[in-house]
Point group: D2
Chain length 426, copies 4
Amino acid sequence: MRITQENISENNQSILSAHQQELDFLSGLLSKEGVDIWALIDKIKEFQIAVPSWALGAGGTRFGRFGLGGEPRNLEEKLEDIGLLKALTQKTSSVSLHIPWDIPSDYSTITGLASELGISFDAMNSNTFQDYGQQETYKLGSLGNAKKSIRNQAVDHNIQVIEIGKKLGSKGLTVWLADGSNFPGQSSMRNALQWTQESLTQIYTAMPDDWKLLLEYKPYEPNFYHTIIPDWGTSSLLCKSLGDRAKVLVDLGHHLPNTNIEQIVATLMYQDMLAGFHFNDSKYGDDDLTTGSIKPYQLFLIFCELISGSEDGAQTWESISWMIDASHNTKDPLEDLMQALEVISICFTKALLVDRKKLSACQLDGDVVGAQECLQEAFQRDVRPLVREARIQNGGAANPITLYRKLEVRKNLIQERGANSRSTGL
Amino acid sequence: MRITQENISENNQSILSAHQQELDFLSGLLSKEGVDIWALIDKIKEFQIAVPSWALGAGGTRFGRFGLGGEPRNLEEKLEDIGLLKALTQKTSSVSLHIPWDIPSDYSTITGLASELGISFDAMNSNTFQDYGQQETYKLGSLGNAKKSIRNQAVDHNIQVIEIGKKLGSKGLTVWLADGSNFPGQSSMRNALQWTQESLTQIYTAMPDDWKLLLEYKPYEPNFYHTIIPDWGTSSLLCKSLGDRAKVLVDLGHHLPNTNIEQIVATLMYQDMLAGFHFNDSKYGDDDLTTGSIKPYQLFLIFCELISGSEDGAQTWESISWMIDASHNTKDPLEDLMQALEVISICFTKALLVDRKKLSACQLDGDVVGAQECLQEAFQRDVRPLVREARIQNGGAANPITLYRKLEVRKNLIQERGANSRSTGL
Amino acid sequence: MRITQENISENNQSILSAHQQELDFLSGLLSKEGVDIWALIDKIKEFQIAVPSWALGAGGTRFGRFGLGGEPRNLEEKLEDIGLLKALTQKTSSVSLHIPWDIPSDYSTITGLASELGISFDAMNSNTFQDYGQQETYKLGSLGNAKKSIRNQAVDHNIQVIEIGKKLGSKGLTVWLADGSNFPGQSSMRNALQWTQESLTQIYTAMPDDWKLLLEYKPYEPNFYHTIIPDWGTSSLLCKSLGDRAKVLVDLGHHLPNTNIEQIVATLMYQDMLAGFHFNDSKYGDDDLTTGSIKPYQLFLIFCELISGSEDGAQTWESISWMIDASHNTKDPLEDLMQALEVISICFTKALLVDRKKLSACQLDGDVVGAQECLQEAFQRDVRPLVREARIQNGGAANPITLYRKLEVRKNLIQERGANSRSTGL
Amino acid sequence: MRITQENISENNQSILSAHQQELDFLSGLLSKEGVDIWALIDKIKEFQIAVPSWALGAGGTRFGRFGLGGEPRNLEEKLEDIGLLKALTQKTSSVSLHIPWDIPSDYSTITGLASELGISFDAMNSNTFQDYGQQETYKLGSLGNAKKSIRNQAVDHNIQVIEIGKKLGSKGLTVWLADGSNFPGQSSMRNALQWTQESLTQIYTAMPDDWKLLLEYKPYEPNFYHTIIPDWGTSSLLCKSLGDRAKVLVDLGHHLPNTNIEQIVATLMYQDMLAGFHFNDSKYGDDDLTTGSIKPYQLFLIFCELISGSEDGAQTWESISWMIDASHNTKDPLEDLMQALEVISICFTKALLVDRKKLSACQLDGDVVGAQECLQEAFQRDVRPLVREARIQNGGAANPITLYRKLEVRKNLIQERGANSRSTGL
């Protein structure tokens, strides 16, 4: 199924006048405060977020998975789904593939389809946390396994992923290492760290010069006593040993309770060490809920750090990668992704509205109350008209979810692909 | 120092036209959606929040305390401070006293002053967590102490607090029990629970028929292994053994990491067992930060439960008590309280805006995405014009903090009371 | 495969003399302190723990599962595995079945086999958290679903489980309710609680008079915003509305970070409301690790509460059910269960060694240091000779894991059942 | 008050024969397993732990403090208290001073007394988290304050502390930085980190060549939104920018919930970056309870890492500093410290008993069950006879707390110093 420009325009027509009124009023208010509305809308328009290939089907937990219907059956259909998202939101210009789930059978077909849909290939993802027919098992780890032959196999797999990525025009490799242990004593934590460092060095060396290595950290799950890369500190330690093109990837769900994530962002930018984000939200652990659905203020504060860090020259905005990485257990993934894109856009916009000069003055004066007022002034603002305007200008739908439902997209996908199609992924 | 109606009017004049414009535009939008703006503003106007007498000076931690200047030196000056807050916000019509810190030397002076300032006496607070010259030490507990004589002393103290409250017109007793233990084995947790139940029964029996007992829970601090009343379940267990007028008090900071507090509110209302709130916010523990400064969405969700619970008839709105209970370690307490009042009003208003019929339909239809849209529709709205209008109609300042600073209130208080005055409290 | 009494005796012979020496020395020490060694050993011998049918194969996470080889392919083989455990440890005299995974095709075969192996049927477990061909989906809940037809189906399933249990001689039904929501707004938490209460009432009513309902609580997973029964308070609230035979089941992994679980045990016993335990251990969440592998001192403290609660007459020891519920992701399940049985026995024994009179005196005297010394005195003791002696007297192996490996049990099971056999379960 | 060698000998005499019997039996068992008992006892004897000067009086919380009686009134009396501890345990050969609380009025008196008592001066501690009469307030921070003059003052204070330490023979400076913020926006986290780095550089430069800088981290308290050095990663980042003699100090209570602290130890040793320890225990936060009183197995695992890291040559044992840092709110500090010293010795000894060759083989073979057995084999052992023997050989009491009580030390101290004497400290 494809959504046409006509579908979009027709739908937008019906709410354009109400939208314009809201936009005008908000513009009036903001202009009085010295905000350059059009520059701001341009920034929103330019901000694009990658979608992972594995997030287009129903997710699940260890207790089970509930099918969805119409899930993409292959890489082509995954691209089509992202194409639908792109048509509606104009915010998803790239896809992040996962190997071995997404090995193209025919490269030209895939690159052709991607090009037609205006989708490029974001960072590639390797998989050394499952057994899928390879020689040796990853049951007790991969890049940090005590057995050299298993480490070698995992390194080779990552190099193969790089090769596939090169053919698609990707420029990055994301490594999420599930390695760790379930029980005290099971592994030598120091040795495992050293082996991991050695394995990563081999992978880094095999990477083209214009590629970036994005190294994730995660404190637990699927291992429940220790993971080899549990925190930003360990990821950073490894990246620094690799070289300039290795940086730390922040997945919002990969933290211990009460972690100040926005501070980690600040600390990484301080060192020019932030690779990018996996957006999601959580109340308990790596819950992989829709980003902004639980702690929207945290997301806003993260964007405040990102904007401040890039405007201050700590790290460039362009050097940072953006991806959504949530699990859609009870929602239609496409609708869920649209909700995520909306809240990301809203928080980004609100963060842009922060009066940074005033905030900085409060910080220097020790005016704690004033600083909080600055943030509230931006956060309380209803910026949806700006986000909508940016989307409309980009050619997207004024109200993507409404249109998605009106066009009965899921129903169409089920008709095309069946009610029991199952997407590869988690 | 007093703030006059003239101070207020003069100040409001200057921003009234801008305010009116914003209010009109928002009213237009909301009216189209069927919202009765004026009924809504009336609800905001009616919503009043108590201020505790101990939150008007600088707070501190076990590592120290940094003075503020101009702190109230006695109960009269505490009332005056609340009078200032009331003049500016018209949201603080009552004070919650703490005994022994606030024993009136002359009752008629105090009630006269309170009446003049339009302040009534909210629930009384007892103190059995410190030694202040009483016969026996509370070092190892009070109402649940292993020594009967200490339990008796703590019961007597609470009864004395009730007597003082009766003279002031209070109608409630809040019991926060710090009792617990620091080490496994230190106390028999079952015995301590039973002694506590017996002590509370004596206190409850001594309470007038039109009084309410508000029983707090807290998982840790100042005891760090166990507390006798760690969670809502234990508080509820005790309250049910006491009688209908004993209910569970929710202090937002008194929960383990990741607790779903809004669910506790729902569960308590399900049983008609919610006594009321101590508003504050926290990132780690009982941090006692300004409410809404860390997790504003959680505060919004709590108000959603409160409104839904009362509108569905689970528990009446009038039966619930509201108080701010934060510690002002680095901010001017009066400014901090104004920030708290503002964010409470905002979250309350947003929760009132939730289209509950639509939400309910989504819930019955299993439309998870739609339900989230309902909440976002209300939460993303900028409701500050409504909150401001309610305040202006009530006779308060359009922008309380700005006026407070313009009038140099703190400077005046320092002149009156000195730079080193110290308020009783934490 | 069966392990014979000869296998056991032959093996025990080799270490009997060393064992006897250790036992004698320890007996000498303890006797001097007034401990009745033989009464103590009798208590260890009598303490039996149920094994769940679903814990005999490899467990997994949402990221995957690594097979084990020789996993039981059906209910008969599950019983055989428990028979092996029983032969080695003499600690596992019952099995807890899970429906629909364990519906007997022929009841007399199953009861005959169980009887031959000396295994009885512990509490039955229902499953309303997965779809396995039933009419309506449990995607959005079961007993607390917004749709009445789904609630009815879930109630009927539980009643069917009771019917099956009756034929097997079980005397209990364990309800773990996965119901909840992933996002704020998704469900009305109050309504869901009420529906759950109504559904449970129907189930309770259908239960024979000599059955017990064990109601579990869990704060999150597989739902990540709220679960209908998140804590002991909610479970207790529901049980009290049902009747005397409904009690609260404590799964050690089902708590928020830092929860004082031993206090929950004390509070439940205070009310005669403790149904029993699911033993496991965790560092982060419901990690389902081997019990005692992460926090052995906590397990000891839990047993201290259990012994004190039953000796004080708060709740009888016989009214409490015991089961191991761990997930064996990287270990051989049979070996893992033997490790769990060992550490449970050790902590139980150490808790029996606590000088409760001395402890009680310390508590009454406020001797915090002395109380801690009492617990340390018991915890530091090496009680393995006592646990070993109890096992030998019961007819089990002196060193179960060593014998298990010597007999190459897993290798035999793989030969019998294949390297890719897969057990039903999680 | 002093405890004489006669006091010790007389007391030891009475239990020597029972002790010898236990020791002999244990030696017999361990010798069979190839353990060199006497080498092991030597290691226990050599292991010495510093005591901080501020932990000899009653601690407290922000809710209050309960006095103890007989608290040391000055530095001399603090040394005397440590002298008592030393006489009883022979484990506390040094003291860690805190400035400005412990500025010697006369250096030769202090060094003379220390020398007489056999106490040396461990790392010095600076205080930039309180106001004690200095020019500028530390209310909003010190080394990372936005105001340069305040940063300078804090740097100067640290340099003064170094000067005092030099006169006493100390060789280290411990910096615990309480700096941070209570609210989002209050401070620029990147700027604060940079200022901190600059300030630390000045301090490091002022340090003698044979000194070590021990840099603590702590996620929260007394600041509750962010702290400038929240985790080992940030501390490590700063230390690396300073130079080889700056290393990361681990205080066991300074971690977010569920942190794997033993892994942090391993990761720091991997980099030769571990400065040392502040021993205590916690259930919730920085509870400062007696080390080993809540999670003794964690303490054992930490010692396993320490021994393995030093034996493998990752970092030398001698380069690591050891100190107890607990708060004694309800216990007599001297008794509490003796309990801490005992459990530290026990866990250290058990960790020494781990069969590291066997463990290593299990790790390489992927024998998860076997690895756990290795740890259990050591942890379940009752090693108190070894710890006692080491203490006796060193000239200490067989049972220090018993003798302390028999000699009525606290009663004597109260007679000497009064019931209301108050020690400086927290």
